[in-house]
């Protein structure tokens, strides 16, 4: 690597995070630490029925007996669960405001700054948004319009009140609280998140979107999202997230469950841009997320697309359980790590039904001193006749102090299964840079162009409205000059 390349790389790693501001707003918190009282406090704040509190407490008792999963290629100091606030809400949010006139102008200002205007006339045309600030949902747009089609799109807190049957039936049905310690933790203390139900035969006419923001200090965010697509329905859902710059690490442990019934399709896209920490590795979000989808019915389909650029630590494996015959699971991922970021991300595809298909496309880009691991498990159970998987994992190294790792597991109990696996690791190619620059592009432009090209297969899976944004985000993660 020549000196000019190194210089440019160094300038990239002075990554400026433009969402790092703090909103000065009074908030309401319980005492720090995790115990039964904390959970009761949350449940009471949310005005929850007894069965919900019982569910939480059961999860908590499981969590107490569990240890964090340790198999990931990550190193970080032990998390002190007693040093975290488990709930934080802007004051006056006992009840969710009915409309924006009741929302603190400071909050609206925050979202305007983030480029997420809450006024519907300004919202991206054709995108309904649920906005979660620390532990509460502050606004959900386009609700009325969706209701006409029988679509339920609201905060999970509201769903617990208004749709207890659906919650009782599906919450924890894909990710049991006792699955591992982070799912138990989330089940015990989850605060808000989105709930979506698409009725039979309905194709949701707009993108549904949730925007998560961590504002308060020393606060964990534990959101819970549940999406149910009934028979023959379709929905595309997108989540985005940011957090202020802080020197301490903050914990984010979300659970997302998807259920697709017969002939239904769910497309779930994530643009994850939590604060990654500074160039010396100080601060940043610990992002321990469990995402799992169940293709319950025949011919159902679940597709995960993620663009992971933020967080000090990313631990995340959006997975599909392909139970229905002919069901399809897809995972498209771009993970970019810079400075001291660590990402251990990938997917799990579990083939149970006949003729089930899965496709995994993973693109990892490592810069600075970061470590980027793809970890995947593809398994075929005994009855998964003629199931197929295609996996492609590509890693791109920029600079010579970063690492890329690929850890695929394949387990087949059915000898009719077909598995294809391709993997590549390459360094950013000096010849490509030379070629671009000989045409007059600057070194930065050239790197950004090449990396975007490398990710294109994944970026093109994003909904149109967000593909351009994601492309920009990729460039920003590389150069850090914007903002």
């Amino acid at each position: 690597m020549n000196s000019e390349t190194l210089n440019t790389l160094n300038s990239y790693s002075k990554n400026k995070y433009k969402y790092g501001f703090v909103t000065e707003i009074d908030d309401e918190k319980p005492r720090k630490g995790l115990n039964e009282d904390t959970i009761k406090f949350i449940s009471q704040k949310k005005n929850e029925p007894q069965w919900m509190l019982d569910w939480r407490l059961k999860a908590y008792s499981k969590w107490k007996k569990m240890k964090e999963p340790k198999w990931a290629n990550l190193s970080f100091p032990e998390i002190d669960y007693q040093d975290i606030y488990y709930y934080s809400a802007p004051k006056g949010f006992e009840k969710k405001p009915k409309d924006l006139s009741e929302v603190d102008p400071k909050l609206i200002e925050t979202y305007n700054k983030l480029g997420i205007p809450l006024e519907e006339q300004k919202v991206l045309a054709g995108v309904a948004v649920d906005v979660v600030f620390d532990s509460v949902s502050v606004a959900t747009t386009y609700k009325g319009e969706l209701e006409k089609l029988g679509i339920i799109f609201c905060s999970i807190g509201e769903a617990i009140q208004k749709h207890p049957d659906l919650i009782k039936k599906y919450l924890g049905s894909v990710i049991p609280p006792g699955d591992h310690s982070f799912s138990a933790l989330n089940s015990a203390v989850f605060t808000d998140g989105s709930f979506v139900y698409i009725p039979e035969g309905v194709k949701c006419p707009m993108e549904l979107s949730t925007y998560f923001r961590i504002n308060a200090e020393n606060t964990g965010q534990f959101e819970r999202t549940l999406i149910i697509a009934d028979k023959g329905s379709y929905v595309s859902y997108l989540e985005g997230c940011t957090a202020p710059k802080r020197d301490d690490n903050q914990l984010h442990a979300a659970n997302v469950e998807l259920i697709a019934l017969e002939d239904a399709e769910i497309k779930y896209s994530t643009v994850q841009n939590w604060y990654p920490g500074d160039e010396d590795g100080k601060g940043g979000i610990y992002n321990f997320v469990t995402k799992r989808g169940l293709c319950a019915g025949k011919n159902s389909k679940i597709s995960w697309t993620q663009v992971e650029t933020g967080s000090a630590i990313t631990w995340k494996y959006p997975s599909c359980i392909l139970k229905g015959d002919n069901s399809i699971g897809e995972f498209y991922s771009v993970a970019i790590t810079n400075n001291f970021q660590q990402a251990d991300t990938g997917t799990k595809m579990t083939h149970i039904g006949k003729n089930t298909k899965s496709k995994i496309i993973s693109k990892g880009i490592s810069l600075g001193k970061s470590q980027n691991t793809y970890r995947g498990e593809v398994s075929f159970l005994r009855k998964a006749n003629k199931a197929r998987n295609y996996t492609q994992c590509d890693s791109l190294l920029v600079g010579n102090q970063c690492g890329a790792h690929t850890v695929p597991y394949i387990d087949s109990k059915n000898n009719t299964a077909v598995i294809e696996h391709e993997a590549s690791t390459s360094k950013i190619n000096e010849d490509q840079l030379y070629y671009c620059r000989q045409r007059g592009l600057s070194h930065e432009e050239a790197v950004s162009l090449i990396v975007n090209g490398f990710c294109k297969q994944v970026l093109q899976e994003l909904p149109m409205e967000f593909a351009v944004e994601a492309q920009k985000l990729v460039s920003i993660s590389l150069e850090g000059s914007v903002g």
């Binding site: 010849d431 070629y435 000989q438 007059g440 592009l441 600057s442 162009l449």
Partner: protein, 246 residues
């Protein structure tokens, strides 16, 4: 003087490649450099373009009143230097249209010219492509990705005609081309030729020079130019090879 190379000595990894090389090119001239493999022809092309692997031991290069060594790769390109590569590299996922659009605008920016908008650029690209007999479908593909050898070379010439350089260096553009492709490529070059631009054509074989008539032919052996003259030299080499110059 448009391009003046004076006493240029260059080494790479402790090996001296160019040795006190001198070459002058005026506006509107076509120069050909011929020489056996390993004589340093491609090194000369890359040193002119600014590739960073080389160590300049001695000498200077002036290009359009600039000391060339003061400019980095992209600045040289923006000043109007174009290198048609011997082996154009594939850039997967990067579409040709935005790639070339950014390229032309970076040049315009340096020249304080107005940037060209999407629509006008698309029109320009289409018309240049059809001039060169390049299928419109090829413009939808990623840069050089999955192209045949001939397509890559043709695509280099397309880029050259879009960027309209003052000095175009063709590094063994004829290698690997069949006679039809060679004709398309050389036609493209001949169309571009004006009194205001210059060409430096590097080739191993005399064949190319049947199609592009050079004003000067230089024979390069072992890192220096050993003989210069008109196109009669090319004919000499065709007949007797490089033996007598070594």
């Amino acid at each position: 003087m448009f391009l003046e190379i004076k006493d240029l000595s260059v080494k790479i990894e402790n090996k001296n490649i160019l040795k006190s090389l001198n070459l002058n090119i005026n506006k509107g001239e076509v120069h050909a450099i011929m020489g056996p493999n390993g004589s340093g022809k491609s090194t000369l092309a890359n040193v002119l373009a600014g590739k960073e692997d080389y160590e300049i031991l001695n000498g200077r290069i002036n290009f359009k009143d600039n000391d060339l060594f003061d400019l980095n790769i992209e600045e040289r390109a923006q000043e109007g230097m174009f290198l048609a590569f011997q082996y154009p590299v594939e850039i997967p996922g990067v579409n040709i249209t935005p790639f070339l659009h950014s390229a032309i605008n970076s040049k315009r920016k340096r020249m304080n010219e107005e940037e060209i908008d999407n629509l006008s650029f698309a029109k320009l690209l289409k018309s240049k492509a059809s001039d060169l007999g390049i299928n419109i479908d090829m413009l939808k593909r990623s840069v050089n990705t999955g192209f045949s050898g001939g397509e890559k070379k043709r695509y280099e010439i397309l880029q050259m005609s879009i960027l309209n350089p003052d000095l175009a260096i063709l590094d063994e553009t004829d290698s690997g081309l069949d006679i039809d492709a060679l004709k398309i490529v050389t036609d493209g070059v001949n169309k571009l030729k004006t009194n205001d631009n210059s060409f430096l054509i590097i080739t191993h074989y005399q064949k190319l020079l049947d199609y592009i008539k050079p004003d000067y032919v230089h024979v390069m052996v072992n890192g220096s130019i050993v003989k210069s003259g008109g196109s009669e030299i090319a004919a000499e080499i065709e007949k007797d090879g490089f033996q007598k110059f070594q």
